[in-house]
Amino acid sequence: MQETAVVEHHHLPIGERDVKSQGNKVLHAKKLHKKKKFLIFTLDEERYAIPLSVVKEIIGMTDITPLLHVPKYFRGLINLRGRIFSVIDLRLKLSLSGSVYQAKKTSIIIYEHDDFVVGMIVDDVIEVIGIENDQITQNVKPESIAHKEFVDGVARTDENTLIIMLDVSKMINQKEMESHQKLSNNNAA
């Protein structure tokens, strides 16, 4: 019996603030004993997970203003209720092939890490589940991922599905951003 949290609309505990708005999905989860909660989404039919604690909001695909002098996976800026967020394309970041965005499925997950609050484009958001530490095998990097440094390990659910654990701290690379800017500054000079 898999203890999975169903997508429900409970209120999050006080420590996690959610931002409500019409037309946007905000996923909540039941507090699960001993298991850490993870948000599961898909890229190219494969399942990935990031800790729920870093997720701020999930929205559908929206207009993106592109930026110059940024890495290819950096898609641009969006307007979310008056605040501006940067958005990256997770497929491109992980060097999977880019794809056409599908209405109703393609989503943007807004997450926070350190001082960054950034959105990442994924194929589809599935659910929130609890995963225990002993379900996760570190240092097993699946073949499908070219850049193994973004992966934190692989989890195996009770139904024997594999989930790739993503390391959110590796998504935005400040040094890479800066080197792109330097390159273009040099070109411009």
């Binding site: 110059l68 800026l77 969006i78 307007n79 008056g82 501006i84 951003m177």
Partner: protein, 572 residues
């Protein structure tokens, strides 16, 4: 755990109280010196220190409590013997207050900080003993500077950029250290601001009006056609209210320049004392208001200008008498608002800028070439060039050559301007002009290829059209456009934002923005001007903050994001 939280809350309140009290102390002590109203001022300071001492004890800041206690004792002695009060005594009180200020600064970062207070405590005790002796004898103004004593506070925050590490003079450190400036921009510390309640009430009123207009629209939506006129009218009113709301909310961030003025008073006092110059400071417009962040940024700039004025501008008493001037030098500061801008004039009646010396140094440093002819104003403006200084002796106070350049940058970053006027022998005036708000302004939306950018109207002098035959190629491949009788450097917008483009604009009639970038005019060619809009500059994340030429983002009327251009940072 709850007790810890409670203590933290109490401590936050303590910090706010301390900031207010210590600031008031400094003002009162300076006042005391000017007006000689010893009893009243001492009473005020005594009560404040006493209150603060008690609070410090209750939030378990032991070191602070002890120093406050010692200070309280000294003041008590002084109240009983006001005839003992001399400039040295006031100096010591100011110094002790400074130490307390610096302790608060440290404690805000680390509530467990401990302090070495032996030296300052000794100084106070010594002072008390000296006073005991002079109690019955007439007051002697002790000229020997007791202020040149070794380090008292061994904790100086590493983030203070003004600390000159080779200089161990503690007064120097205490006066250059300014805990109120943003020394550590990355710290998570919360900043607070004091608000007059009337500002909040006014804001609430305006919100109330907006709610009413909102509900009118609610009713109107039942029948849009029939209510068309009322809807139009309400939308007009709403846009006025929204403008008012923006204004009122921005006004919440405004603080009066009194804070800056207090710092200046202290600075002038300390600097003129150390340099043995007699300076009279006149401050006008202390109730003028500016945005709090602007006040913080200007603080350093003003400090530098005034130090220069006292160090190099104002002559010694003898020189002044010989030049038929008043023995006391004058510094006059005027602060006022006009037309959406904040103006600050800093005037001194010293020896003025020496044009010959300026040219000499500029030649030596390669800032100008021999054959260049410069107007008087251009010569004066050379002081703003990086690395420029005519001072041969680098004093503790000025002459390091980084000052005026840095001052100018701070002003430019704030989208303002700085102008210097000077007459040799008569004096120098600096005029700073700063926009009241950096975040809300009118902007022009331009299109280049398929992207839209926003250029602040304040940067645009003119929008004009030109034909191909007005364009010339200069020797160095730089394109220029002839406009009337002027030749203006012409750039493609894409070039300006650092993007290579192979696009050729084939139309015969082209559009360009005439931009004033620092001290020269440039023309930026764009594909199309799309319109104008009131822009609210929005922060963009740390990950994109440093993109070239980008000041931030803004949301256009259609809900999409557009980048706002930072004229000072474009690539041309």
């Amino acid at each position: 755990m709850e007790n810890q939280d409670f203590l933290e809350t109490l401590r936050k309140t303590f910090f706010e109280e301390a900031d207010e009290i210590l600031n008031k102390n400094e003002v009162t002590l300076l006042e005391m010196e000017d007006n000689r109203s010893y009893s009243d001022c001492l009473d005020i300071v005594f009560r404040q220190v006493h209150t603060l001492k008690g609070s410090a004890k209750s939030v378990d800041f032991r070191d602070f409590y002890e120093l406050a206690h010692v200070m309280e004792n000294l003041i008590a002695d002084l109240i009983a013997n006001t005839q003992c009060i001399s400039k040295n005594v006031i100096d010591l009180l100011l110094k002790t207050n400074d130490v307390l200020v610096s302790m608060i600064h440290q404690l805000k970062d680390d509530t467990n900080a401990r302090f070495q207070l032996g030296d300052i405590k000794n100084e106070i005790v010594n002072m008390q003993e000296n006073l005991l002796h002079t109690m019955t004898s007439p007051l002697e103004v002790n000229d020997s500077s007791e202020v040149d004593t070794p380090d008292h506070v061994t904790y100086i925050s590493e983030h203070e950029s003004e600390i000159e590490s080779e200089n161990t003079n503690s007064i120097q450190q205490l006066t250059t250290m300014d805990p109120n400036t943003k020394s550590n921009p990355d710290s998570q510390r919360e900043e607070y601001i004091r608000l007059p309640i009337r500002k909040l009430d006014s804001l609430l009123n305006t919100f109330g009006e907006q709610v009413i207009l909102q509900s009118i629209l609610e009713h109107c939506k039942d029948d849009l056609t029939q209510n068309a006129d009322l809807i139009k009218k309400t939308i007009n009113q709403l846009s006025k209210i929204t403008y008012d709301l923006q204004h009122s909310t921005m006004a919440l961030r405004m603080v009066s320049v009194k804070g800056l003025f207090n710092k200046v008073q202290r600075l002038v006092r300390d600097t003129s004392n150390s340099l043995n110059k007699d300076v009279k400071l006149t401050l006008n417009g202390e109730n003028t208001e500016i945005d709090k962040s602007l006040s913080d940024e200007l603080s350093n700039a003003i400090t530098h200008i005034i130090r220069n004025a006292i160090d190099h501008g104002i002559e010694t008493a003898e020189e002044r008498i010989a030049a038929n001037k008043s023995e006391t030098g004058n510094i006059i500061i005027d602060a006022y608002q006009n037309n959406g801008f904040f103006f600050l004039e800093i005037k001194d009646d010293g020896r003025g800028l020496n044009k010959t010396k300026i040219i000499e140094v500029a030649l030596k440093k390669g800032i100008v070439k021999q054959q260049q002819t410069l107007t008087a104003q251009e010569i004066n403006n050379l002081i703003f060039k990086p690395g420029f200084t005519t001072v041969t002796n680098v004093t503790d106070y000025s002459g390091r050559g980084v000052g005026m350049d840095a001052v100018r940058n701070v002003v430019l970053e704030a989208k303002g301007s700085i102008v210097v006027e000077s007459q040799e022998g008569l004096g120098t005036t600096f005029l700073l002009k700063l926009p009241l708000s950096m975040t809300i302004f009118n902007g022009t939306i331009v299109r280049t290829e398929s992207e839209r950018f926003i250029v602040p109207n304040a940067d645009i002098r003119e929008v004009f059209q030109f034909n191909n035959h007005q364009v010339r190629d200069m020797n160095n491949k730089q394109k220029v456009v002839i406009k009337g009788d002027k030749t203006i450097a012409l750039y493609n917008f894409d070039e300006a934002i650092g993007r290579k483009t192979n696009k050729a604009n084939l139309s015969t009639r082209k559009t360009a923005l005439l931009i004033r970038k620092q001290d020269k005019d440039i023309a930026l060619e764009v594909d199309e001007i799309l319109g104008q809009q009131r822009i609210v500059l929005k922060k963009i994340g740390n990950e994109v903050k440093n993109l070239p030429g980008v000041a931030g983002g803004a949301i256009l009327a259609d809900g999409r994001v557009a980048l706002v251009l930072n004229i000072n940072a474009i690539a041309c």
